[in-house]
Amino acid sequence: MSLATTLQMLGRGRTDPRQRRTPMFRSAGFRFGILYASLFGLSALALAAFLWWTTVGLLDRQTDAAINADTQGLAERYQEGGLPALIETIDQRLATNIDDNAIYLLVGPRFDRIAGNLNAWPRGVTLDTNWFELPVERAGLKGVARLHEFNLAGGFHLLVGRDSHVRSQLRRLLTAALLWSAVVALILGMLGGALVRGAFRATVADVSATAAAIAAGDLSRRVRIAGTDDEFDLLAAAVNDMLDRIMRLMDGVKQVSNAIAHDLRTPIARARTRLEDAAIHARSPDELHAAIERAQADLDGVVGVFQAILRIAEIEAGARRSAFVTFDLSALITDMTELYTAPAEEAGLRLDAAIQYEISLHGDRDMIQQAVANLLDNAVKFSPTGTTVQLTLAASRDGVRIEVADRGPGIPEADRTRATERFFRGEQARSTPGSGLGLALVQAVATLHGGTLTLADNAPGLRAILKLPASSMNVAS
């Protein structure tokens, strides 16, 4: 992400009126920025310290080693050849010193100069310590030198040193360089911090702007996915999934309230009219009783619809997952066949069952029962006399398939996707009693088990296929 786009996004985040502003010190973006800047600064500091130690430190150590070696050599010369040899060596060394940085001074017991390039014993050099760092003056030049004092036999004192102006120069150079790089590091750190903060805010701003929009009622808003598959994309995808689910639930609530407004008002109004009519016009207790009974039946119907709505809501909320057990599905379907054979025959139908044995399922037994019962109820209700209703239970590697096929009017292709919506009633179904909740419940049960409900053409008729995934199948048997 380039700096320009980051700043642009940062700016957009700021101008978004819905985004609440956090005080700078409490903003997580600011904290991340500071963290970045301090990490950057610390590493720059560590680098500088290392640089200092390896250059200036090394130079110091080299100088000390040279002085030591020099002193050692001169002391040996003095031991071998006495004072004249020492003076000769010093003069020789001074003459061959190309860098012109060596300092020698040999003094007698009374500190009078015997040889060397210093005019006098520098003030500040005492005899109790050996190493000094002093300003000296030689040949009219002032400078700072590192000196080593050495006592020779016979009361002579030898001072060996190196002019440290090279080192001082280097130190100045390094100090300036480091100061400048500290400034650069500070600027870079702050810039980087701002970048990190901006990137962070840009991502979070989108999530929080979306959440704010949702909270304000715009349910269609989604978090932008950058397509980089990073952690922020994962977060955005998770948030979007959550929002999709919320939207589906909201749609459900909307649907149900619409349904209550339209589909439940009708029977309630009818019951009310009957009662009022009876209260005004009934001429005998029998008429009154009949009206009351009919109204009661109407109200029972309303209660039934309520129960179905609540049950679907309960299933959709997933609260019933706690009721999952492993049970013998083959036995359940066999029982259902037995229960529905009689009503089918009564309606002049044949119920033909093809049941694969020893299939067990992990799920909600009552709900599966209810779902299969709803499918069979529909088949029996809509099939013309003399036809066959086919019930199939089969298991494969993909899962369990429960299929109910009839030869009724079926559902036109245009209506099939809507047929599982709550309160949907097809043209053919309007004349038959029912609430329009049967398939909605089957759909909810399928979803609860991670399965699907497919409505297909049986040419003629309807094939309702309830598929439950293999994961819910228990293959232990």
Binding site: Q307, R320, E338, A342, P343, Q369, A373, G438
Partner: protein, 227 residues
């Protein structure tokens, strides 16, 4: 039977009390949990009809749990507007014998109260059931009427057994579905009616007096003579 009704809604309580008294039961009423618990613990009842949500700090669940912890095993029928399956399970787990959701029909309530009270009496294992000239042998699984053997399918046998065990008592369609088929759902079609009608073909039709009667707006009843 002596029945305690713990219910705070005046209309519902009045309706239940009147109905139970008309059915020939002696009924006590408490309108909050505290009074209900006091009555239930201090007197002896054959059954308790208990609302779940009660005023007075003690709700139905608490009341029942307290009662059961005192080793009181009076059969309890929960009566509640909390209709979700989880709520039902909660009620039964707390020690309730049955659970009826509001709104309810009185016939259903009466049938269920009488059902749990009878169960509570603990009749011990029965091997033979008889109503009028209809006899059922539970060991050999045979049914005779007036000495004549009737052939029944296994499910028809269980349906008749259930009716005979509740002879003289209204049995609702829901009770049959739960008791005979162990199903907990509402079929939209008349499945139960069809099965009962088939049973009638075998048990009643060849004989002069019917034993299985339809109770309007409620369900069925097996009894010796017409009312």
């Amino acid at each position: 039977m002596r029945i305690l009704v713990v219910e705070d809604d005046k209309d519902v309580a009045g309706f239940v009390l009147k109905g139970l008294r008309e059915a020939g039961h002696v009924v006590e009423h408490a309108s909050n949990g505290r009074d209900g618990l006091f009555l239930a613990a201090s007197e002896s009842f054959d059954a308790i009809v208990l609302d779940r949500m009660l005023p007075g700090g003690i709700d139905g669940l608490r009341l029942l749990e307290t009662l059961r912890s005192q080793n009181n095993h009076t059969p309890v029928l929960f009566l509640s507007a909390l209709a979700q399956v989880d709520e039902r399970v909660k009620g039964l787990k707390a020690g309730g014998d049955d659970y009826l959701t509001k709104p309810f029909s009185f016939a259903e309530l009466l049938a269920r109260v009488e059902g749990i009270a009878r169960r509570g009496r603990g009749e011990g294992p029965v091997t033979r059931l008889a109503v009028a000239d209809l006899e059922m042998d539970l060991l050999s699984r045979t049914v005779r009427r007036g000495g004549e053997k009737i052939d029944l399918q296994p499910r028809e046998f269980r349906l008749l057994e259930y009716l005979m065990r509740h002879a003289g008592q209204v049995v609702t369609r829901t009770m049959l579905l739960e008791g005979v088929w162990d199903y907990h759902f509402d079929p939209q079609t008349n499945v139960i009616d069809v099965h009962v009608s088939r049973l009638r073909q075998k048990v009643d039709k060849p004989f002069p007096a019917p034993l299985i009667h339809t109770v309007r707006n409620a369900g069925y009843m097996l009894r010796a003579e017409a009312p």
